[in-house]
Symmetry: D3
Subunit: 245 residues, 6 copies
Amino acid sequence: MTSREQPPHQPLAESVLADLRAASVATLTTQLLKRGFRNRAPVGLQPLRPDLKLIGVARTLRYVPAREDLATLEALASPEHPQRWLIEHVRPGDVVVMDARGDPRAGTLGEILATRLQQRGCAGIVSDGPVRDAAGIRALEMPTFCAGAHPNANVTVHHAADVDVPIGCGGVLVMPGDAIVGDADGVVVIPRELVAEVAADAAEQEREEAYIHQRIREGDSIVGVYPLDEATRAEYYARRGRRPA
Amino acid sequence: MTSREQPPHQPLAESVLADLRAASVATLTTQLLKRGFRNRAPVGLQPLRPDLKLIGVARTLRYVPAREDLATLEALASPEHPQRWLIEHVRPGDVVVMDARGDPRAGTLGEILATRLQQRGCAGIVSDGPVRDAAGIRALEMPTFCAGAHPNANVTVHHAADVDVPIGCGGVLVMPGDAIVGDADGVVVIPRELVAEVAADAAEQEREEAYIHQRIREGDSIVGVYPLDEATRAEYYARRGRRPA
Amino acid sequence: MTSREQPPHQPLAESVLADLRAASVATLTTQLLKRGFRNRAPVGLQPLRPDLKLIGVARTLRYVPAREDLATLEALASPEHPQRWLIEHVRPGDVVVMDARGDPRAGTLGEILATRLQQRGCAGIVSDGPVRDAAGIRALEMPTFCAGAHPNANVTVHHAADVDVPIGCGGVLVMPGDAIVGDADGVVVIPRELVAEVAADAAEQEREEAYIHQRIREGDSIVGVYPLDEATRAEYYARRGRRPA
Amino acid sequence: MTSREQPPHQPLAESVLADLRAASVATLTTQLLKRGFRNRAPVGLQPLRPDLKLIGVARTLRYVPAREDLATLEALASPEHPQRWLIEHVRPGDVVVMDARGDPRAGTLGEILATRLQQRGCAGIVSDGPVRDAAGIRALEMPTFCAGAHPNANVTVHHAADVDVPIGCGGVLVMPGDAIVGDADGVVVIPRELVAEVAADAAEQEREEAYIHQRIREGDSIVGVYPLDEATRAEYYARRGRRPA
Amino acid sequence: MTSREQPPHQPLAESVLADLRAASVATLTTQLLKRGFRNRAPVGLQPLRPDLKLIGVARTLRYVPAREDLATLEALASPEHPQRWLIEHVRPGDVVVMDARGDPRAGTLGEILATRLQQRGCAGIVSDGPVRDAAGIRALEMPTFCAGAHPNANVTVHHAADVDVPIGCGGVLVMPGDAIVGDADGVVVIPRELVAEVAADAAEQEREEAYIHQRIREGDSIVGVYPLDEATRAEYYARRGRRPA
Amino acid sequence: MTSREQPPHQPLAESVLADLRAASVATLTTQLLKRGFRNRAPVGLQPLRPDLKLIGVARTLRYVPAREDLATLEALASPEHPQRWLIEHVRPGDVVVMDARGDPRAGTLGEILATRLQQRGCAGIVSDGPVRDAAGIRALEMPTFCAGAHPNANVTVHHAADVDVPIGCGGVLVMPGDAIVGDADGVVVIPRELVAEVAADAAEQEREEAYIHQRIREGDSIVGVYPLDEATRAEYYARRGRRPA
């Protein structure tokens, strides 16, 4: 274990939350792409509850491959065990993000721990491995994104090595404190220092795309409409009654 | 871009459509296997709407790996961009089939474009990559087969190189004009010149298998029934009141 | 074919069945892990019917790669064809477990054969390949675990080589006679000689975990509760009114 | 174990051996393709000794996934252990072909056993897993084709289940008795009943290709030469002084 | 086939060739990274001849998955077959780059065709699939980069669809006319419009790194030396006797 | 960065080094298997110099996926950059072990840094990613085990996150201070607290296997010899003139 100081609690501002609620994950990745980030959406994750939107702040848990003498059921009894420590130090709005190296051979968390996370106000769970007790976790009103279900206990293949350090998850760097947003398309990891502007621009993009989508539903061609050319953009601003800031 | 002439419009004949509606994708692959084709059903695709049957004619879109200076959001504004051009040249009954090299790292199409396709009478979408805005696309009454969902824009990893050329999709050759049929089991790609006879024989096979299935449900052994031996086949013809053509 | 003697029928005892019904697959893997077994839950399988629990005894079917002259539709007509023979020799409570080498390119069984299995009292189907006619199989009241759906006939890529021999399925050794249990998390393969004690201990663990889960739902920390420390264990025994055997 | 009767010894006829010596593995696959076999050359194998040609008759060894209580170092002491039994029953000209499911996590054979095989006149070793003691095995004058090297003992991940049964190796069906040929390009598995004609036609094709190659080296275009058109074929026959049988 | 006009012959200028000879592939990727290109070096390719440097201009050949009735040995006889056409239209300095979708199941080119390419002055061969007759191709004095060796003919799994169009190779976009450079580390694909400046800057970087390497071999720390800080850079320029342009 | 204190220098004792020099990596894995460790040999690594044996103490470097704004060439200039810091803090006998998540898309170290490591007395390099400048690194008299070569700079896909923490490498847990041994078969990671006894028992096993190997070379059957039965073991002890301790 390298660090066990609880990192500073820096929940997302209410205005940012509002923008993130208004923005799809797809739109957020587009805003990140515009800023040069091509790899902010983990691969291989599915929502257990595609109907629930995930918004929160990353707390990270790093698994490494198990060694038979270290990764034991007994080791889980210690409150200092990294997984257990993290769960008991989650704060409202935190998202537990796990680096399971995409290993499909074990669940990375089960229903009892997920229930405890929910009790503590956890915003959601993200893992690039499976979960176990998937039916029970699905029944919780907490969004979980993972690589499906597998019954094995995590110690079968994982050794919990660290918390609150940079990790990879689904091929994406996750820094503690990053903003995590998830919907039916998957998850996006937004560098914390960029989240306010990315969220604001994404919310604006959603309004624009709502207009575009409406035009397309009415039978317009995409030419000039998607993306908006100058003339159609003027119509859009006119209909909205104002230009965006 | 190698070609931008709209290929001749050769919709499937109504009799062929009727046979394809009566045949499952599994049965169609059996008919193709009987003709020596072992590789006509792409791997790695799932239906977003398993309740909707897909039947149509292939229009192909070929993606190659992105190069940062070519695959940009700005490039999408041109009506000559291959993806955009194809969408605006889809005809009723066409199926947009995309070669995304099975890359899981980006959506290959989103809700706005899918909506436009639906407006143009597109029969459905097939991609060996994910889609984005999967929830929105699922809500359309248009069958889509893809490798799940991913939020990234296609330009993140793809450069649209070509339309209406032979492509690979899920490991299967798709020629423009091929018949595309999809159901809950996945998709089959039928060489255009064979579709009439394959569809007819598949429809006939379905009638036979309905009889077999009925016998099995009534408690018969599969021996002599599946496949039909000579005696049971005679009973089948007797019950049907006629031999098939 | 190496063997065609029907193996002795050794259905699971009613007391074992009762314990297995009370235990989740996740809990059963924990009991196996306690006994040194880290690899008893196949990877890559999903339940077609996560609402149905699978409990039964393994009958195995071994596929090897197809050779064009051997794996033909005609070969399926023989009652001695291993797949067909096995289906007609399944006994109530048997589970058909298939080694398809995880090949995604063909279904390993279709609706007609699944219906016949159901008629014969088969407890369920497990395959590390896809099935075909997935919608029809899902409609049967029989649990099936597989690698999704693919329309191709099994002879497209498989040659049925053997029945009732040790096989691998999803990376796990399956011996004929092993106990097979499945739920929404997947499948566990329990060595037959251990099933009674594993099932009993798993059922006991479930009772304990139900207590733990209740405590967590009531707001307790996991510390001292999950796993139970000595004090909390005493409370648990007190509430139960007795110690477990 | 399903069978421990030594299969009949049917070494390849000297005339077949002569043809096989004259034919490259690539050419043999072409002859098989002409007969409708598209999948006779395993994938993922490399020669430890690309300078040694392998020609022999398949003896098969089937590994399944290990179970911790069965796949032990102690189990190897039994002369009835399938791997050990097979090694002591190999006959001159036999090739040991192993189905290791392509698992890269353990060697499937080590230097001591390879030395014993060489002592017994074994023609060579084929495995779709790695070997251990690769340097030592490379030093033997016996061709070995495998998936590289890994130090782990085979019992780490494998349980030897069977000998002399049909297996898959590198995605290809291998029947006991099949002819096995290997060179720097890899391995081909020739159905035993076809080996005489395939070998003869391959040897003839080699003669033809030697002529073609000579023409190309002299500066000819491939047009009309590769493949030979009628005119060039006439020149070829003229130079040879006779038509092939 | 979409295009059969021979593209304009634009061999690399002698000054560019000189710079590319002086630069390693690793250094060229660094120069591309400085310009924002992170994905210009294909994955999964190995040099058959690591001692031969490859420098040339891309001619592309696009394979798609085979269909049994199209990808036949007979089809290879036509001089219009894309692979055959390309080989007979290669010009001195051209590199044949093949998109084989990374499929390991067949060779993409054999010795006779490679010999013909060499006769025509071909600079080298790049394929993301294997080659066949690898020993023979290795013996040619022509650099070849590929995914190892496999004996199968390309028609076993490939249908040659197109030449001189943008392709993917090893996950990298290759445009006809791109500069291709290969050494023991693999291959880099340089956009044609950038090759002069990338090559010049890479050659300069090599001179700088030769100095750094010398300093490190003499026992210096990397701190301040790799990369050069201001003071060490001044020393470097002093030793060189001049600043680079 | 979580830790930058140089860990205590605990070189392997000379007697341990002597035993490790006498033992092959394969034999060391057998000794670990006897102690219940089934997963101590990384997968996917090859020796650049199979003729050089690697023996040393693990220093770890942890890469996570790159983020475009963090993983830059400029970041490498800082002496605090984890990779650079580690290289300048390596001590004689240390082995640099890198967790590159098995990513094939970039080299994890190049020739200049490898040269610096050699200058500092580094015992060798282990990476589950490729290296760049592979030819230059091969020319150093320092054993390197890696996933082949790739020209890209590590910042292309990696962000150096940490040093001297537990990592995964090729699917195996590596703790700082673990003993690392490599030969032509690959690498084994020995828990530091076990290395003395594992090395001693492995050296003893080598002596025994030398005897066995000699017997096999002389024509003995493996039965009773490999493994030694009681009688043969007595002969072995007799020939050795003593029992092992």
